[in-house]
Structures are given as structure tokens and as C-alpha cells.
Amino acid sequence: MRRLVLFILVVALAATLVVALRPSTPARTFDAYELKAKDTAESVLSSVQTARLVSHAATGGRAFGPYVSVMLSESETAIGEASSTFAGLQPPDDRAGGLRDELTRLVGRGEELVSQLRISARRGELSVLQRQAKPLARVAAELERFTEAHG
């Protein structure tokens, strides 16, 4: 009985650790690489959309400064993390290389725009955010198209 309980506890703990540390497996085939690219695009899309929503609320006088700054800087960090994880993956072939270029350009554009939003928000210029966020609509649309094309 005691051994069984101990065994279950150890397995549960090990499983939790494995999942928590989530070792990233290298993408050896185009399909695997494409899947990672799609996941990255989805995650960046989520952050871009959040940034757009909060910019809209800020300029409309619906949110106060600290909250807007926190949200925009969280979005920026999230895009940065997704982008650097993806950049670290080795594209297995030329086709994957093309995919990499396309997504890196999109993500870079998104990160740059969200950075600008964050800078304005920290300066207290909430009224300009909505205008500044306009180009993000295109980035979002392209990211959406990207995830659908590689879904």
C-alpha cells in the first residue's frame, strides 16, 4: 500500500515536472516546423489584438494610465518571447526558410508597433494610442491569414 502510494506520488511529480519544464523539441521536418510557426503566429496575434483593444479603450478615456502601460508592456514581452523562441528553431529546408522569413517580418513589425504604443503609454500620451495602433490592424489581418494558411 505504502509503496503504491509512493509510486503514484513520484510518477505524478515527475509528470508535472516534465510538463512544466516543457523541453522544446527541435523541428526536424517541414510539417513540424510549420506547426511551430502557426503556434507562434497565434500567440503573437493574441498579443497584437490585446494591444489594439487596450489602445482603443485608453484613447476613449475608458482606462487609466498604469493599467494601459502594464497591458501594453505585457503584450510587448509576450511577442518578444514568442519571437525569440521561434528564431531559435532551425528551419529544416528551403521551404521552411521561406516560412521563417515571412513570419519573422510580420512578428518584427508587430513587436515594433506595440513597443511604440508602450512608450507612448508610459509617457502618459493616451490620446494618441488609438491612432498609433491603426497599422496593427493590418499586422493582425496578415497574422490571421498566416495561421489559416498553415492550419
Binding site: 509528470a15 483593444l53 487596450v54 479603450a57 475608458r62 498604469p66 505585457e74 492550419g151
Partner: protein, 409 residues
């Protein structure tokens, strides 16, 4: 009149106290990913916590035994010890998440990094436990938590397609692009968030400490039967807000700040302030409850003096445990471990550990030597047995689902 006031106060406190960091995160995240199609898991969790808390409250009032007294008596020293280790670990994990939740909420008001707020939050939690009376503590944070009603107002203000939301909720299906295991993994997360074990440790210990008797059973039922479902309504509002704002825009919720966004969009600054106040109150209240629960579980297993009705020096080991738990939570919190991930693990593991405490309470609630005539009725037993089976199934499914879905990613 005074009595009606007391009952109302209890219900409102239970309602505001129901929500904690786990409910906020789980409901907002699932609303964004699955729309309302997992609302059933919240409802199931609320019914479960009502059944569990009612039994635990009744056992505490009639037999004067809190949950871990019962665990020790019914399961013995050895199995009780395994149970204690698991329950303490999960409660500790929840405490880390709640303290970080307080800090994250304050960050939203100040734009000062939450890591700096964690030690302050921990100190305040300890100070309140050290100096403030049980009932005032409960009432103040429970009532402040009611500010989350802003989320419900926001859902109405967003003018959603009610039939659409209702259809999602009443015809649950896995949205395209999501796997069935992921869907059920999140169902377990919602279920665990509603049925977190510490709520029952805290509730039953409070009943013993306040010296509840058979005469208080009516009040117990009113608090549980009305307060918890109303609290569940706040959870569902968070889910609905996410389902309206985030789900169609493919936004995933993985920060606390995002959980406040639907209300901000709908009501503006007043709504945002109310939600943040609600977040602070709910996470702070839950931090108090989990820190105390760390002390309750350990003290009740070993038979040490516990509780807040005696001077701290009379319950020295209990207060030492509470103090160490808070220090530990602060130390883990400031390592910049992702608080949202900690929250997710704490609720999922909570769901897996539920049978450990549910089973002994269920047994004692049926034992006439403890309960006299206040044993479970026929209908209660049917419901309670059904939940026992469900809890065992959930417990067995949790770890495999966690591995299969890479923790829902």
C-alpha cells in the same frame, strides 16, 4: 430584522469570498478559448462545492470536528499523513498563487512591477491574520469582493447575443482547432477552481472555531446554498466577458490584466477600478484563507491548538506554521515563477486531490455515532455518491490529461 441582516451578510460574504485567483484565471482563459461551451464545468463545480461544504459544515457543527480531525480519525495516522502531505502541498501552491495575485492586481493600479509588491502583500496577509478577528476579516474581504459584480454589469452592457451565448453553453462542443483532451483538461481546471479544497478546510475550521451547533445549521445552509451559486455567477460572468470580447478575436488570456479588459471596454474607468478592487479583495481574502488552511491542516492532523479565538501564544505551533507558509510563499513568488502557471497547476492538482478529503467527510456525514439524526438524507446521499464517483474519475484522468495536452497548451 437583525437575523435577516445576519443571513444576508453571510450570503453576500460567501458570494464575494467564492472567487479567487484560480476562478479569475480559469474562467477568463476558458471563455477566450472555448466561448461558453465549458460553462457546464463551472455549474458542476458549484454544485460540488455546495454538497461538500454543506456536509463539512454540518459535520463541524454537530461533531465539533474540522476536516483534518475527521481525516485523522477515519483514515488513521499513516494514510492521514499521505493525505496531509498532498493537501498541504496544494494549499501551499494556492497560497503562492494568491499572494502573487494580490501583487499582480496592485501592479495594475500602480504600474510598479508585481515582484516588488509580493513581500508587502505577504506581510499584510500575516498582519491581518495576527491581529484581525476572524469574522471581521471574513466580512470585509467578502464584501469588497462583491465589487466584481461590475463584471456581470459589463456583460449586460456589452449587449451580447444572449441566444448565442446560451446556445454555446447549452450545446457544449469542442471548438474547431482545439483537441478533445484539451477541452476536458480545461473542464477539470474550472471544476478544480470552483471546488478548491482549502475552501472547505477554512469553512469547517471556522464553523468549529465559531462554536457552531445544530442551531446554526440553517445559517450554514443559507450561506452555502445561496452564497456559493451567486459566487459562481461572478465566475460565469468572467467567462462570458471573455467569450464576448476575446473568443471572436482569437485572443488567449494568459495574464491577470486581460481578465479586466472586457469590463474596461464596457463600463470604462469606474468598471476597471471596481474590477481591480474586486481582484485585490478576492485574492487577498483567499490568501488569508489559504495561509490559515496551511495551519489548520497541520495542526488538526497533529492535534495542536489552532485557531484565531485564542491569543497567538496559546496556539504557538499553529501561528508558526502560518508564518512559515507565508514566508515560503513570498520566497517562491519573488523567484519570478509565472504566477498564472502556478495558479493553473494549483487548480488542476486541487481537482485531482479532492477525493482525499471528500471521502472521509462523506463517510462521517453518514455515521450516526458522530452525527446522531443529522446524517445525510436519501437525496443528499444520492447526490454526494454521484459526486464521489465523479471526483474519483476526475482524479484518475487529471495526470494523463496533463501529459497528453502538455498542460493545456
Amino acid at each position: 430584522m437583525k437575523k435577516i441582516f445576519g443571513v444576508t451578510l453571510g450570503i453576500l460574504t460567501a458570494m464575494g469570498g467564492f472567487v479567487d485567483i484560480g476562478d479569475i484565471v480559469a474562467n477568463s482563459a476558458t471563455g477566450a478559448r472555448f466561448g461558453m461551451s465549458l460553462a457546464w464545468a463551472v455549474i458542476l463545480g458549484v454544485v460540488g462545492i455546495v454538497v461538500f461544504a454543506e456536509m463539512a459544515g454540518r459535520v463541524a457543527s454537530v461533531s465539533k470536528r474540522a476536516v483534518f480531525d475527521v481525516v485523522r480519525e477515519r483514515l488513521g495516522a499513516r494514510v492521514g499523513m499521505v493525505n496531509l502531505a498532498a493537501s498541504f502541498f496544494i494549499t501551499m501552491l494556492t497560497l503562492i498563487a494568491e499572494v502573487a495575485g494580490v501583487a499582480l492586481s496592485v501592479q495594475l493600479l500602480t504600474d510598479v512591477n508585481y515582484l516588488l509588491w509580493i513581500p508587502l502583500a505577504g506581510m499584510l496577509v500575516w498582519l491581518v491574520i495576527w491581529r484581525v478577528k476572524f469574522t471581521s476579516m471574513e466580512t470585509v474581504f467578502g464584501l469588497m469582493g462583491l465589487a466584481l459584480i461590475a463584471v456581470t454589469v459589463a456583460v449586460v452592457q456589452l449587449h451580447p447575443s444572449w441566444s448565442g451565448l446560451f446556445h454555446q453553453a447549452s450545446h457544449p462542443s469542442v471548438p474547431s482547432g482545439e483537441g478533445t483532451p484539451t477541452y476536458f483538461y480545461y473542464a477539470i481546471a474550472l471544476f478544480g477552481a470552483a471546488m478548491t479544497p482549502y475552501e472547505v478546510f477554512f469553512f469547517s475550521s471556522g464553523a468549529v472555531e465559531e462554536k457552531w451547533t445544530r442551531a446554526d445549521l440553517g445559517l450554514n445552509r443559507a450561506n452555502v446554498f445561496l452564497g456559493f451559486p451567486l459566487g459562481g455567477l461572478l465566475s460565469l460572468s468572467l467567462m462570458a466577458g471573455s467569450a464576448i470580447v476575446f473568443f471572436p478575436r482569437s485572443v488567449g488570456v494568459d495574464t491577470l490584466s486581460q481578465a479586466a479588459l472586457p469590463t474596461t471596454l464596457a463600463i470604462g474607468k469606474v468598471g476597471l477600478a471596481a474590477v481591480i478592487l474586486g481582484f485585490v479583495a478576492c485574492t487577498f481574502g483567499a490568501a488569508l484563507e489559504t495561509a490559515l488552511s496551511c495551519g489548520y491542516t497541520l495542526s488538526q492532523y497533529f492535534g495542536w491548538q489552532w485557531g484565531k479565538l485564542v491569543a497567538p501564544r496559546e496556539a504557538a505551533r499553529f501561528h508558526l506554521t502560518v508564518l512559515c507558509s507565508i514566508v515560503m510563499a513570498v520566497l517562491v513568488g519573488v523567484t519570478a515563477i509565472d504566477p498564472i502557471k502556478v495558479t493553473e497547476y494549483s487548480i488542476v492538482l486541487s481537482a485531482a486531490a479532492l477525493p482525499l478529503t471528500y471521502f472521509p467527510i462523506f463517510v462521517v456525514a453518514n455515521d450516526r455515532t458522530y452525527m446522531g439524526d443529522d446524517v445525510n438524507g436519501g437525496f443528499q446521499n444520492m447526490l454526494a455518491s454521484a459526486f464521489l464517483i465523479l471526483l474519483v474519475v476526475v482524479a484518475l484522468a487529471t495526470i494523463p490529461l496533463m501529459i497528453a495536452t502538455k498542460a493545456g497548451s
